[in-house]
Symmetry: D2
Subunit: 377 residues, 4 copies
């Protein structure tokens, strides 16, 4: 490896282990950002922490501020399973690739940025940073993600997702002495689930509607006046998600009509768009992979979602997926948390760092970035 | 028995047997009306057949045309079980009571009428005759009904009912190759049933919503574009039926909303109001019963419905229930058809005829009829 | 009032207020028992606290230990609404009646007992005391209960109840990437509810099955591996409750079969039998009521349940219901808690105390108690 | 075209038109078989009609009786839409290919057969012929099928299917007077549908369970004692269909358990296995297609089912799909019936005949057939 030397690798491994042990949840990644900041300073970079009004977001720039090529770091953990999504490795590989690329940065026309994006797990950190203008001047974006299977891939697609909460309000009465006088909010929620199950016949292989019940009544002898559920709606395109949300809304409102209850829905998880990888960046990454002797998997599809999708909708973007295990393991699990700290994970992580660093250099030299007009064609 | 002699009884029994064997369905009781007409002519009465624009309705008058006391005959049978509701006995007792009362009719101020009301079984014959003005001038109404249990009663209450058909229209597609593209009308109907089942918690002991599916799709490999069901909605008051119909409509429309299908509802059975017996007529009948040594059952409630209820809503009305069996048997059954031809049925029918005839005489002498102002107070 | 004098009334009111302010939950009524104990000691009675192995049960005896006439005190409160069931008034009236009757106790053959029965609200304290033999030698039992409506009644009936928890266990998978591989425990629970709703058509006016969902899944992106609900099953006889439980078990197991999940049910509330009041005690109470100028309501039915029902199944028992309000208010409510401290509540409570004390004296003199053979005929 | 001359084409077109106009349903294809027989006789072949004990099955042989290469004809129509599946074209192309190949048949070691297989539409004619031993000695099988889209393909896969009828039996009662006493068979069927809808979350993209209701009760005022539905269960492998049938049986029986009803299931459509095309035959057909300038579609998947699948499970088999329309139209439709008589359909049918005839000659020369050991390796 020509860009990532042994000393850099050693520092990156310590950074990964440190973030892994911190297990900080979305928007509370203070220690992780401090560790990254310290590492970058030791490499001579000065981070701006708190960009976009988010205390655990940060930004580092080398060269001019526009156009730039940006690499995005993630570092938040999950409840219960800690780094069961392996974001310590995303931090390691993206920080490492930035440092390595910065050492060789020769371009006077194109800047290089590392943006620290918190709260990928349900918090939509990147969506807020986009809205706050933090991505201004960015012509191309890359990032990475560990894979819970033996896959190296660029240009992977996935599902978009939006989260909804549904709350029914009825009328409580004593379930034994006057059930007739009540309006059962739980009945409404159950009919909404029945409607969703009936609608499954209308879902294609890429569509998902799933739900849980978070409030199913408080006492057996009271007709529930309140019932609540949470639902995730997923598909492969924003347009199809919109169709499914309309179907879902009809189901939810139909159940209220059936039960003479009131219903309110609210978005509990903002729309995470499906990834639309920029083919020219994918090609660049795949060439680097092949040059490293790694055959990239083509047409790779991931069923999870990411706020990187929203970035990909407005800026040319791609992500590198690299394996932390040889046999498939469940995502968002303790097994994945353990695998994200393994020798294989770090060995592959160093290779990924090299590929990402090389891709950053490639992008800086590409006509798409050099001739960037400030907006997508 | 002073009003019904042996010769009259013999003729009435033949009339009952004749109607029983004809088994004519609603609005097709041509032979039965002919038999009644012949019997009345032999007694010197001239019927007007075809009143109110209905070919099997008829009318006979003795005395002035207003105010009158009317007794109502029924004579339609049921599909499959023939006279499983015993209307041959209603015809026999009401025709007989008219003939007997007419013999003793002395009142110059009050007329006596026998009105032949077809299609009690679902056809709502009395409702149409009311709308056609056939009941003009009628101050009080009585009728009879055989009971499938050992009960003599006046002033019995019952449930009102209205019948609705629901038709969902969706979009057919091949159930295997493109289920996603369809809109399943059967799913909509099933969700309506689910909504009704959930609503049962809101039904009181006198409320009923029951349904069947009359069209549940045509081929296993086609997503049904049409599905249909029929429903009966019953309760003890018109106001409560109206509430239940509103609840039902919400359920039915909610299921359409859930499935993006279209729905149409239509009334397949007009609102049959619950009976509201006039207490003063009930008292009159009960006195006649007690005088005959028969203790009437008080507060008797019948779960079936009748279009006599609609008459009772606008004219002072009551009905006499008399037993055709000692042990309870199911209504609308072959067993009831058989019982309606038994010796017990005819013996009790002659007693009922006597009670009804006496009641007609009582009513003619009552201040309520003599002082009838043309409308209810 | 001849048995309850002003001084006794004043002490009872303080006792009621004290228990009302303590608001102690089932099996934790330490302060309330202490207050009752102090009151009884001041009247010269020595309580045995901790009978039947329950720390907040107690017992006081006057005269021989068999046969005895027993009056039962209750004093537990409810979560959130405190004495929203008015058990402070049960304690006041039963303790007061015991003290008053003891003053006049002349019988050498029949003993008088006051038994303190904790945890009426779902804990089934009386059921445990019965099993522990605490009721040995008791020939007749009376108690009292405040009514949330303007009703004085003896011999009131009610519904029995049993509580069940249902837990389904399925197989968790990622709801987006591999829903097909899961077994959805929530689906099983929803189908159980659908089965219960369908079964409502088979419930008579006195039958109740009601439920809530206590665990409806933990995360939107995971197919729930566990789901749980709680259900109350009520009816007017133990035999009918048994039928309904069998129906319920079939529904619950049918839903498991439909979803290839496992199900476990457990009894969360022991069978509380419906009251079977002893008519001869009711007659005694009603006579006392009438003598006090109060017309008792006959055939009074209460839709709530009580562990006094289990006592009534094995010992001749009755209860006196007395009003704490002129207009009906909801049971188990803050309004009921407030009413249970009102002037009307205490005024009627003193009358009730008098009626109960007199009834105790009547029972001691009755042949049923004097000639008690040790078991029911 | 070298094998199919103009005179043969003209005769084949008349045969196709004749069968199209006859529109004979499964197992009643007497006229169609007569027409084919007449055509074959005019070409010098003698058919044996009635093979395998089926009056509308037939067989023609050229050369030795084992091993043979067989081509299968179909000729049954559909209710309502007549030849909406285009079997007239299957008859035309397979009879034509047999006649053309027979003219050039030189092989002394391998025989050539045309087998007339009735009742493909739900009747499973080929399954019965297999069981009757009619395919004895057959080493390889080909057939054809028109496509309702612009596709030429060999080696196409499809879904297998099995059909089940479910009949629930409950207890009828009057829906108004005694609903509690009944056991509603329709409720059971609705809960089975609810269970199927819930199970959709467990169906993969190739799995289908669809159903209709064929008996949903007879009268609104009677709790249904009988309810019946028909279901199709499909998937891409026999093993998966077996899993789905087990899931389905659990759902159906669970609903009976929930409702205390009895259930009986019966197979209304025998298991039609998915096609497992023999790759060496597919290769042969594709080479012939390419030589005719037609690029075959690879990996073609059809969502419909055919009893040819059962043949393919025991004998090396393939089918040629050829277009009768340029734009996709629905299968089993009047549009498809019309398209199956169009100029395009017949023009492509002649090409298909040529390809099939050539393939028969190829197969006769192949080592797989020449060295056929009498059973599959």
């Amino acid at each position: 490896m020509s860009l990532v030397d042994e000393s850099l690798s050693a520092g990156l491994k310590r950074l990964s282990e440190s973030i892994h042990s911190l297990r900080e949840l979305a928007y509370e990644e203070y220690g992780s950002v401090e560790a990254i900041d310290a590492f970058l300073r030791s490499e001579g970079h000065a981070t701006r922490v708190g960009v976009g009004g988010i205390r655990t977001a940060f930004d580092v720039l080398v060269g001019p501020s526009s156009p730039t090529v940006a690499i995005l770091a993630e570092y938040d953990a999950l409840p219960e399973v800690g780094h069961g999504c392996g974001h310590n490795l995303i931090a390691m590989t993206t920080v490492g690739a930035f440092v390595a690329a910065a050492r060789s940065w020769a371009s006077a026309d194109v800047g290089l940025r590392l943006i620290g994006t918190p709260a990928e797990e349900g918090g939509g950190g990147k969506i807020r940073l986009l809205e706050q203008g933090v991505f201004e001047g960015v012509a191309a974006v890359i990032s990475s993600h560990p894979a819970a299977e033996s896959v190296w891939a660029a240009g992977a697609t996935n599902l978009g997702v939006v989260g909804h909460e549904v709350v029914y309000k009825g009328l409580a009465t004593h379930a034994s002495s006057a059930p007739q006088a009540g309006r059962n909010a739980l009945s409404a929620l159950l009919l909404a689930f029945a409607g969703i199950d009936a609608a499954r016949q209308r879902l294609g292989p890429d569509d998902r509607i799933t739900g849980i019940i978070t409030d199913g009544g408080s006492a057996v002898n009271v007709i529930p006046a309140r019932a609540a559920g949470r639902f995730g709606i997923r598909s492969r395109s924003a347009a199809r998600i919109e169709e499914l949300v309309a179907l879902f809304e009809g189901i939810v409102r139909g159940a209220a009509l059936q039960t003479q209850t009131d219903v309110e829905t609210s978005e509990t998880m903002r729309l995470h768009l499906p990834m639309t990888p920029a083919p020219w960046i994918s090609e660049s990454m795949r060439r680097r992979l092949r040059e490293s002797g790694i055959p990239p998997v083509l047409d790779h599809h991931v069923w999870a979602s990411t706020d990187l999708g929203n970035v990909s909708a407005v800026i040319d973007t791609d992500w590198l997926r690299f394996p932390v295990t040889e046999q498939p393991i469940p995502g968002h699990s303790l097994a994945m948390a353990e695998a994200s700290l393994s020798g294989l994970a770090h060995a592959n992580g160093f290779v990924a760092t090299e590929i990402l660093a090389g891709t950053l250099l490639d992008l800086a030299a590409s006509p798409s970035v050099k001739g960037w007009s400030g907006s997508r064609p």
